[in-house]
């Protein structure tokens, strides 16, 4: 059985500019211990899907579909039950770790709090656990750093703190939303290495959200490619990267390999004004009449009228 | 600016605008709409309750309260507008100088502003009005002598943030004169915060005018003014409460209208509340 099974997840926002369809019939599964990555350009709805799983979307969001976690549908859980799952079963780390730490609480305090929420232990024990966690994620002199505040931490160190906090209760799923995007290249490699080790050490499943194909290839077993709120291709990492089916995935890979001009032509459509038919057709070199009229169905992991997986 | 009247706050702003337009008409047309002479005594008609003949009743010396309130609108709005114009003028000049020239000029002006702000405005106004003697002129001097500081700060703040964006430097680089830079590049950027501040400030000024007059340190009797009317009505609170209810109501409505409009404008012009909070 899959650990996480998302079925036809729709998320939309009512805004002044109109309804934004940020996630359109998104479905994918993550097995226990598997690392899956969700890739796509920024603004394609990746982070919204992640926040949807955590049920941490802003108040104007409308969400439908099913998100099964260990067989229970998260969307039908009571608020209180969902709160208990956060941090304990599903944890999340974010982009720009510095802003994700509370500036007026000491770093150790924030990690100890994460321990305490789900374990109901004494202050002394949670404090000790927090120091251990800080050592685990490679923060030097954890005892001293415990009582320091977020402004005293660099971006990389702050992300280590976030990881320590996320792993406090050994969750079975870790969602990492662009965990290295705002960091320096050298630091990025360290954080990726750390995440990789910890995930395999604890046998945690990973949902990695990134637009960096290199990072994705290093860490993940399977991949889901999103474009303008919908999934356009999914499959095993090695298959997809070796033999991409969708023209968009092909373009992404070409852009990342550096052989061609660095970006995919054109830009992601506004989510309030999506084109008819295949959403990628205005940017697609292969587009034909059918692409402009009819939304293609997912076949063998590719959602395209023209390209078929061989 | 008022094209997108969709949410509640915008509607309140429009309501404020309508009330203010109405008050402006009342102020301008006072001689034509006031049923009686606001200062004419009529000792046979003292302390009358509201009736058809005197819609809001009469005061302790038989003057028609409605007429006095109508003329009071004229006095209050006129003084407040004059005060705001003078404050904006000095505030913009000083604030622009501080923000534009920076360094020593800025430092000196802003430290002076700090010291001036150390005095709660109303106290300084009270002291000045008290010392210079009570007259409309002195009331205006008292209110403006402290009020301009806040405009100076807001203007300086916006100029500093414009400077950060660097297009003053580029304007200077292509040879624009100081005056041209100020009028073409700076003025448009400071105008919206100044408008919002001025609108909110009008309310505060109206309260200050009435407050000082209430204490006997502002406008002098027998001029029809809301604060004076309150003060004069106070002794008759038990027998004739309408003497103090209507002028107070008028002050409140006027101030509320300015605050509705100011709050709405602040939202429409998308300014953070921290920049301008009424202290």
């Amino acid at each position: 059985m899959s650990l996480l099974d998302i079925v036809n997840l729709n998320i939309s926002f009512a805004t002044r500019a109109g309804v934004v369809q940020a996630s359109d019939e998104v479905s994918f599964k993550i097995r226990k211990g598997e690392a899956l990555c969700l890739i796509g350009e920024s603004g394609c709805g990746k982070s919204i899907v992640a926040l949807g799983i955590m049920r941490l979307l802003p108040g104007n969001a409308r969400i439908s579909g099913k998100i099964f976690f260990n067989g229970r549908d998260l969307l039908s859980l009571h608020k209180k039950a969902m709160r208990k799952m956060r941090g304990r079963d599903i944890a999340m780390i974010f982009e720009q770790p510095a802003g994700c730490l509370n500036p007026v609480l000491s770093v150790g305090n924030q990690i100890a709090e994460a321990v305490k929420i789900h374990e109901n232990c004494s202050g002394k024990i949670s404090r000790q656990r927090a120091v251990d966690l800080m050592a685990l994620v490679g923060i030097p002199c954890p005892c001293k750093r415990y009582s320091q505040y977020p402004y005293e931490f660099s971006g990389g160190m702050a992300q280590r703190v976030m990881i320590a906090m996320a792993l406090a209760s050994h969750p079975s799923l870790l969602i990492a939303d662009e965990p290295t995007t705002s960091l320096d290249v050298t630091i990025q490699a360290q954080i990726i290495e750390l995440l990789k080790n910890l995930v395999s050490q604890f046998n945690t499943s990973l949902l990695l959200i990134t637009h960096d194909l290199g990072v994705a290839a290093q860490m993940c077993d399977s991949v889901v490619v999103m474009y303008a709120g919908g999934i356009i291709e999914k499959g095993r990492m090695s298959d997809v990267f070796k033999n991409p089916g969708h023209p968009y995935t092909q373009a992404l890979l070409k852009a990342a390999s550096g052989k061609e001009p660095a970006s995919v032509k054109g830009s992601v459509p506004e989510l309030t004004r999506l084109p008819d038919g295949c959403r990628f057709h205005p940017r697609c070199e292969l587009s034909q009449d059918i692409c402009r009229k009819i939304m293609p169905q997912m076949k063998k992991g590719v959602k395209c009228h023209i390209q078929k997986k061989t | 600016m008022l094209l997108h009247i969709t949410n509640k706050k915008d509607r309140l702003a429009v309501l404020g605008m309508i009330i203010l337009l109405l008050l402006t008409f009342i102020a301008i047309l006072a001689p034509y709409i006031a049923p009686y002479d606001p200062v004419e005594l009529n000792l046979t008609q003292r302390l009358l309750s509201p009736s058809i003949k005197h819609l809001l009743g009469t005061d302790s010396v038989g003057r028609d309260i409605l007429s006095r309130i109508i003329y009071g609108t004229r006095i209050s709005l006129m003084i407040a507008v004059i005060v705001v114009i003078i404050e904006v003028f000095f505030g913009v000049v000083v604030g622009t100088a501080a923000g534009y020239f920076g360094r020593a000029v800025d430092e000196i002006i802003m430290r002076l502003a700090d010291i001036l702000l150390a005095f709660p405005g109303i106290i300084l106004a009270l002291v000045i009005a008290g010392l210079l003697g009570s007259s409309i002129m002195n009331l205006i001097i008292a209110l403006t002598s402290v009020g301009w500081v806040r405009y100076a700060r807001v203007v300086r703040g916006s100029i500093l943030s414009i400077k950060k964006e660097g297009f003053i430097e580029s304007a200077r680089a292509i040879g624009c004169s100081n005056l041209r830079i100020a009028s073409r590049h700076i003025l448009p950027n400071i105008i919206s915060p100044v408008i919002v501040l001025a609108t909110l400030n009008m309310g505060t000024i109206i309260i200050s005018i009435a407050g000082l007059s209430f204490l006997g340190l502002g406008v002098q009797p027998p001029t029809p003014e809301w604060g004076i009317m309150l003060n004069e009505g106070k002794p008759f609170m038990e027998s004739a409460p309408h003497l103090m209810i209507f002028p107070g109501l008028m002050i409140m409505i006027t101030v509320l209208a300015f605050n509705f409009l100011g709050d709405g404008l602040r939202d429409i012009l998308d300014m953070r509340i921290n920049d301008i909070v009424e202290y």
């Binding site: 941490l56 609480l105 | 709660p120 009270l126 002291v127 008290g130 204490l215 509320l256 202290y279």
Partner: protein
């Protein structure tokens, strides 16, 4: 942090010195002759020239401005505010006798404002755009727009005259304190409520709030611990700044309720052109402004670790 506080202290001293000079100059630049005003206030007819001159001689009003300024600063440095021209008592004594009543009123108004404004501001932000939020916002806007002298009169009319629940003037007991406290505290409550709501809304958008929720923290703690502590920084600033302003709002409220505090005394002194008292009052207000700002700075250091440790490392 020591350096930080020392810097603030130096600024405070500078502001006090500036205030002393400013308060002196306002009064000397003002037209009208104090001696004449005092003497004519004491008697029904205009005073004789000789009398005025001997009065001015006695109170040193004939010396040049610079000499009087230096005398004034010298006196102040010894805590001497001069002698009230009207009562003949030392100004400092006059204030000392009246200050407790004023402080009582200001402090209770502040307490009222904090107790009401902070929770309602938080609720208003958390339930943004709900009916409750709209009601709270409207009440706050109304509170800002309400002239306190009129509010005072209405309260007297309603609860004093008509219902007879509270005395309408004077001081001395809790019952006396209630109406003036509401009168003085209303606008303060409204201002604080608006500020608390605004800063809460801002903080709730911060990423660390999302982190706190992602941990599985109970919403009560997310708001009460993580968010509230961050909103305190701007709120405490305004509370501090408002305290001196509250002392000045006291002037009108004391007049309405015949409250025997320094505000009441000031209005009488202004009418009598009692220069030393007016100068003293201006200085006292400036002193409280500086003092409350200092307290705010120290509180800041407790609330914001960036300031607490930032300067020592």
């Amino acid at each position: 942090m020591v350096k930080f506080i020392a810097g603030r202290l130096a600024l405070a001293v500078l502001i006090m010195l500036g205030s002393a000079i400013l308060s002196f100059s306002i009064l000397t630049l003002a037209p009208g002759n104090a001696a004449e005003a005092i003497l004519s206030a004491e008697r029904a007819d205009d005073p004789q020239l000789a009398e005025v001159e001997s009065f001015m001689e006695r109170h040193g009003l004939n010396n040049s401005r610079l000499i009087r300024l230096s005398q004034w600063l010298h006196m102040l440095s010894k805590g001497n505010f001069g002698i009230s021209l009207r009562t003949g008592e030392p100004v400092a004594e006059e204030f000392r006798a009246r200050f407790p009543a004023t402080f009582e009123l200001a402090a209770s108004s502040m307490a009222l404002a904090i107790i009401i404004a902070l929770p309602f501001g938080v609720i208003s932000a958390v339930k943004q755009n709900s009916i409750l939020d709209n009601v709270i916002r409207f009440v706050a806007l109304w509170g800002v727009s309400m002239p306190n002298f009129w509010l005072g009169l209405l309260l007297i009319l309603c609860f004093g005259v008509i219902l007879g629940w509270f005395p309408t003037y004077g001081s001395g007991s809790i019952v006396h304190l209630i109406l003036p406290t509401i009168t003085l505290g209303t606008s303060m409550t409204a201002i604080l409520m608006r500020l608390q709501r605004a800063s809460m809304l801002e903080v709730l958008n911060e990423n660390y709030i999302r982190t706190a929720r992602a941990k599985g923290l109970h919403e009560v703690l997310v708001i009460g611990k993580h968010a509230f502590k961050n909103t305190l920084i701007p709120v405490v600033t305004i509370i501090g700044m408002q305290f001196a302003h509250l002392l000045s709002g006291v002037v009108i409220v004391e007049q309405v309720f015949a409250w025997p505090g320094i505000g009441h005394f000031l209005v009488d002194s202004i009418n009598a052109r009692d220069y030393p008292v007016i100068q003293g009052f201006v200085l006292i207000i400036a002193f409280f402004f500086v003092l409350s700002n200092l307290i705010v700075d120290i509180l800041y250091a407790f609330l914001d670790p960036r300031i607490r440790y930032g300067r020592t490392q």
